[in-house]
Amino acid sequence: RKKRLSAVLKEVDSNFREVYKNLSGGGKGELFLEKPDDPFKGGLSMWAKPPGKSSKVKLEQLSGGEQSMASLALIFAIQDYDPSPFYYFDEVDQNLDPINAERIATMCRLRSEKAQFIQVTLRKVSLQLADHHIGITHAGDGCSRRIANFDRERAIELGEKAFSELK
């Protein structure tokens, strides 16, 4: 149904512009069909411009962190149109500097009123913002287990331990 797809994309585009402006701290993003009159014959193009950059910027030239933020903005934009009951993010903050990792974790926290968010992460910033923490370990024998009595403090400590031994 061409009409239906066009209507959906219009709405997701409108959401995307909003979310990307928020997540990038003032940047501009949009989605547009390559063939607006015949959506199924063309693809869906995406464009994102972080704040301060030239409007000539191409998506391929963006940095790893900037591409991660644009992709996550699209996921949130789709959620606003048609939510899934849960979102499972495995190390989506790999590329992100601490400020961007915090923006993503904050958005997951806010949106966790409407959907369940589960983020696998190694980053202190993301661990700080989660409500609930699960620790998994493989106590040296190749068998995975859950760490008992695991909370925010212990989660952050797990990561910090290596660092404090350096000092």
Binding site: S45, S84, F86, R109, Q116, I147
Partner: protein
């Protein structure tokens, strides 16, 4: 509706039975490299019915069964249960179209004596099928391989994929 937890039994690096409980809000999973965090995501996709074993980093189904770890005593099968909270809304409708407040979706694989793989599905403990799971999950907007699951290393995919692949992602949603 939300995912209350997982019960893993001999699935990948999880020896014996391990429970992983979640909450309604925002959960973070952490731990050392190789501890089994991404295997939890694989377990979820395994039950939802991912299209290909490649998506859960297995060449074939046998790779999903706990291989014995350091002691090298492998299991002969594995089982994963997803436990969903499935309350009735005011209009008495539920996300998963089954009339129970809690829904347990279980998938198991086991090796027969001749080392063939048998895959089984159970809904609240009763025998079910892959198709029944698919219908239930589609009705709840929780199908396998959805845009809502981002595997490790895939976070930039939506920005890097071709326009036609990206449109297909939206087709599935529309």
């Amino acid at each position: 509706m939300y995912l209350k937890g997982l019960e893993l039994e001999n699935f990948k690096s999880f020896k014996g039975q391990v429970d992983v409980p979640f909450i309604r809000g925002f959960t973070a999973i952490t731990g050392p490299n190789g501890s089994g965090k991404s295997n939890c995501g694989d377990a979820i996709q395994f039950v939802l019915g991912t299209k290909s074993n490649k998506n859960i980093r297995a060449d074939n189904s046998k790779d999903l069964i706990f291989n014995g770890g350091g002691s090298n005593r492998p299991a002969r099968g594995c089982k994963v249960t997803l436990i969903f909270d499935n309350p009735a809304a005011e209009d008495e409708r539920r996300s998963l179209n089954i009339d129970t407040d809690e829904v347990r979706l279980t998938r198991s694989i086991r090796l027969t004596k001749s080392n063939n793989v048998v895959s089984e599905y159970f809904l609240n403990g009763e025998s079910s099928s892959r198709n029944h799971f698919r219908m239930l999950l589609a009705g709840a907007n929780a199908s396998a391989d959805g845009y809502n699951i981002v595997l490790q290393g895939d976070v930039t995919n939506l920005a890097r994929m071709t326009p036609s692949k990206r449109r297909k992602v939206l087709d599935k949603v529309a």
